[in-house]
């Protein structure tokens, strides 16, 4: 199993980062949208704590992932893809990476500005980014919520594009991320 990516396929490390992030982000979006309506209580506190812990994990994963990406190769665009599509895909990926950093940071900022403690999976307490600050709290909350909708839109677009490559264009874009042997690789 190749750890590094090649011109035709994503390596095991890149795939692991990708699918762990996908799983985490989908769970965070679903739980995030649901948890705010829970009645106050211990359950709400624990579910919020879980959302925050997974969110911080995504931050750590994304930082590691970007570092790995600096050293890693990447598959070529599918042959014959129009330039505008390549640029659009690139822009979407930059935005996705940006949100994978901005979402946890805005959540952390919101948490700090609210004066709440932040504990990662009941294991370690993280520092407060700022002192309790009601105005900043509102701002960070707004950013987290706006970012969430932007992220949802991008994730839908991202998945739709992958499915179009797979089922309409019938190219290897999705296969390359699934670790399947790409048709044109040896």
């Amino acid at each position: 199993m190749a750890l590094h990516s090649t011109a035709y396929r994503w390596g095991a490390v890149a795939r692991l980062f990708h699918w762990l992030t996908a799983l985490g982000v989908l769970a965070l979006i679903a739980v995030g949208l649901w948890m705010t309506d829970l009645p106050n209580g211990m359950r709400k506190i624990n579910i919020y704590a879980l959302h925050k812990s997974v969110g911080i994990t995504i931050l750590g994963l994304t930082v590691l992932r970007l570092l790995w990406r600096l050293t890693d190769d990447r598959p070529l665009s599918p042959p014959g893809q129009p330039a505008w599509q390549q640029r659009a895909a690139q822009a979407a990926h930059v935005l996705l990476y940006g949100l994978l950093i901005a979402m946890p940071l805005s959540g952390w900022l919101y948490n700090s500005a609210s004066g709440f403690p932040l504990r990662w999976f009941k294991l370690a307490n993280l520092p407060h980014l700022v002192e309790a600050d009601p105005a900043l709290k509102e701002l960070a909350h707004g950013a987290h919520e706006f970012g969430a909708w932007l992220l949802i839109a991008l994730v839908v677009l991202h998945a739709a594009a992958a499915l179009k490559h797979h089922f309409v264009d019938r190219d290897d874009t999705l296969n390359a991320m699934l670790g399947r042997r790409a048709k044109d690789s040896k």
């Binding site: 709440f116 403690p117 307490n125």
Partner: protein
């Protein structure tokens, strides 16, 4: 035969007795009140692994204390729990509810020493009844007493278990989210009571 020297020694006795009598004279302990501006009553709890401090801003205390009159010395404190400030509006609002202090029914906590105090190296230990949320617990309350002329400082730190007072029962008893142990830090600046 009295030599002059023996006479002087004999004459010394009443003086020494008188001096001893004045030293032992305050047969009752000194009554003190607190200087609210300089005194503080705080507690340190743990929320999700992180310590937070709450200040009981409004309380009254009457202290009667004499290092040699421990049997008659007493501590009597009454705390207005509604004055608690934990530097978080959300947390303060939660403390008001029936899960925590239940201000609607039990807005006051009291602390009263029971029986004689016991001397320690730098103060004394009081056995005291602490009443919070209608629940009474007998606790040992060791404190340091430092006299500075007419005023004095009383300093103490005791660790309580919030469950002893029904604070956060049921699902809220989870120690990993809100710690059971709460440190109470007492710093009283005392001045002699007016009467």
């Amino acid at each position: 035969m009295n030599t002059p020297r023996q006479r002087r020694r004999a004459a010394g006795w009443p003086v020494a007795l008188a001096a001893f009598a004045t030293f032992a004279a305050p047969a009752a302990p000194v009554a003190y009140t607190v200087d609210p501006a300089q005194s503080s009553l705080t507690f340190v709890g743990t929320q999700q692994g992180e310590k937070f401090t709450g200040t009981i801003k409004s309380f009254r205390a009457a202290v009667r204390y004499g290092p040699t009159e421990l049997a008659a010395s007493t501590l009597d404190v009454s705390m207005d729990l509604k004055s608690i400030d934990t530097r978080s509006g959300e947390r303060d609002a939660a403390l008001a509810t029936a899960i925590w202090f239940d201000y609607a029914h039990t807005p006051t906590a009291t602390f009263k020493s029971v029986g004689p105090l016991r001397a320690t190296r730098d103060g004394a230990v009081a056995d005291a009844d602490l009443v919070i949320k209608g629940k009474t617990k007998r606790i040992a309350f060791p404190f340091r007493f430092t006299a500075n002329g007419a005023t004095a400082n009383l300093d103490a730190r005791v660790t309580l278990d919030r469950l002893d007072f029904g604070l956060g029962a049921g699902e809220w008893a989870d120690d990993s989210v809100i710690g059971h142990k709460v440190d109470v830090v007492v710093h009283l600046v005392l001045k002699p009571a007016a009467n």
